[in-house]
């Protein structure tokens, strides 16, 4: 059996105490001096091990408490109270919710998948990715060998252009030359960040994690430094500056170069291919209303990989009202109609915040997904965007140790990989390449709603009259 893809994890504690959902407010005055104080009964010994982080002025009471409410309920004089931490509520924004951020922090710390034990309280649908439900029909029983055991579920994808047929000469010799392909064991690459504090530690952490997980990280041409030299096999160089500035030697060493879309992008691709025929070229552009037309045109002209980007909330250009999953579905379907879909690889990025979003984008038609902000959140980013205003980062991301960052990212990606296996196992799909575009195995809330309710109130629909 083929070697199983597995990401090694190691617990990597945060440098700063995380912002927790609830905080304890304990009045010390008015204590009845009970013989047996409720604080002594804490199962987690939170009160006994109490300390203060003077850098953040965070009490270990808040960070270590597991919210069991035992002390709150049992103090006879009701001196202990718990409240929702306002700082927690202020984390992130409407899209990057405190729950998402907290989940990523936890996964980055220990590499375990998030589990909520209290049942699912809903809501059962929401905007964006939440308006999509994946088929879980195969979840009826655990497989005999377990999806993390002997049963092999492949998450490998190929990036590059594919041939639709092979041609042989009369002697049976292959005459068609297959275009270069790059194989990654997980349909995830690391994208450039929409914003981040300075410091090269962040990029180095991305690259080190990409190398460890055997995937790629997109690096701006201008950000490439000599100390990234050893990571060249895991770099996708985004030539957004001037591709002609790249040395021939560099082009020969790189496996993938990403080009911003332009009128002469195919000519540049040809130029680069002449220097290094084994190079895979990505063409990157922002999702918009005419993205499917453009994608089809590029695919027709011989594009290998099309990288479609949305903003951090999964939306395309300003005038584009469609969320990334809907836009990618449209592009995927358009390419199928044009008979071009299987020739080209599609990568989607923007707004991917959870492991399930990777699976959902693949179901909507992307071959792979590029992730950005979650990688920064793995390194404790609070999505406060202070860096965009030139204010110093509250968690000092400028000065991180890249090995620490890489370990956190690796933990997160391991958690995501395991969740991807769970989703695929539940769908009964053992090969992620088979899951791409499997929209029949998912339900889309808006469409169901339309199907059921659109006929309501229309005269003549009842009883067929």
């Amino acid at each position: 059996m083929a070697h199983k893809y597995h990401i090694l994890t190691s617990p990597t504690p945060a440098r700063f105490k995380p912002i927790t959902k609830a905080g304890i407010i304990a009045w010390e005055e008015g204590c009845l001096k009970c013989a047996r104080c409720v604080k002594k009964d804490c199962v987690y010994k939170v009160y006994e091990k109490r300390s203060l982080d003077s850098r953040q002025m965070l009490d270990s009471l808040d960070t270590a408490c597991m919210d069991c409410f035992r002390c709150v309920q049992n103090c006879p004089n009701r001196l202990i109270q718990k409240s929702i931490n306002p700082l927690y509520k202020a984390l992130g924004d409407n899209y990057w919710t405190p729950e998402i951020i907290e989940n990523i922090w936890n996964q980055a710390e220990n590499g375990r998948v998030p589990v909520s034990g209290g049942g699912y309280h809903g809501p059962f649908s929401g905007p964006g990715f939440d308006a999509m439900w994946t088929d879980m029909s195969e979840i009826v029983r655990p497989t005999r060998d377990g999806i993390h055991g002997r049963e092999y579920i492949s998450t490998t994808v190929d990036l590059g252009r594919k041939l639709m047929s092979l041609e042989f000469d009369s002697g049976g010799k292959l005459i068609s030359s297959p275009p270069p392909l790059v194989e990654i064991p997980l349909p995830v690459i690391f994208d450039v960040l929409p914003w981040s504090p300075g410091g090269k530690g962040i990029n180095l952490a991305f690259l080190e994690a990409a190398r460890n997980t055997r995937t790629f990280a997109v690096i701006h041409q201008a950000d490439f430094m000599t100390d990234m030299d050893e990571y060249v096999p895991n770099i996708i160089l985004f030539a957004d500056d001037d591709v002609l500035k790249l040395s021939k030697e560099m082009i020969r060493r790189l496996k993938i170069i990403e080009l911003p879309d332009s009128g002469n992008v195919m000519a540049i691709q040809e130029h680069l291919k002449k220097i290094n025929p084994a190079l895979v070229i990505f063409i990157r552009f922002r999702l918009s209303r005419n993205a499917s037309v453009r994608a089809a045109a590029l695919a027709k002209e011989g594009a290998e990989v099309i990288h479609l980007t949305a903003n951090e909330n999964g939306m395309g250009k300003a005038e584009d009202p469609l969320f990334i999953k809907d836009r990618i579905r449209q592009i995927h379907s358009h390419l199928i109609e044009a008979g071009l879909r299987d020739e080209v690889t599609l990568i989607g990025s923007g707004g991917v915040a959870m492991a399930e979003h990777v699976a959902k984008l693949v179901i909507c038609g992307a071959d792979a997904v590029a992730v950005d902000i979650p990688l920064l959140v793995a390194m404790e980013c609070r999505v406060c965007r202070r860096c965009t205003e030139g204010i110093s980062c509250p968690v000092d991301l400028e000065n991180i140790d890249y090995a620490w960052g890489a370990s956190r990212i690796r933990n997160l990606i391991s958690g995501w990989h395991n969740q991807l296996l769970e989703v695929m196992g539940a769908m009964g799909i053992r090969e992620i390449r088979r899951m791409r575009g499997e929209m029949g195995r998912a339900m889309f809330f808006e469409e169901l709603e339309k199907e059921i309710f659109s006929g309501m109130g229309i005269k003549g629909l009842i009883n067929g009259k």
Binding site: G23, E29, P86, I391, S392
Partner: protein, 126 residues
Amino acid sequence: MKKTNAGKKYAIFFCQQIDKNQDVNRRSIEKEFGPQIRFFPIPCSGRIEPLHLMRAIESGADKVYVVTCPEGACRYREGNIRARKRLLYTQNLIEEIGLERGMLELIRLKAGNNYTVDKLTRELLG
């Protein structure tokens, strides 16, 4: 900021009930003063403890402010009263070891006004 205040380090503990949008409002101050000023938003001023204040002084603050809600307006009923008691207690402690009482100061807001953290800070430093 006045010249006399130049180079001084400030720590400001404030109750987050004062300004619901404190995270955004305090950014202009953070940008202007950089590491010279540090904000510690707390869920209720009653959450403050002598140790917090001592640690703030220990980590180099020249002046520590504790900003509380107006009396009678505490969300947790008596948090601001407790904050005052604890501040007085800490003032006595630091005086004993030879520091000025004035290093710690309680700011109790007046009822009926809407405060934002940035305006408040400018007033304090003004």
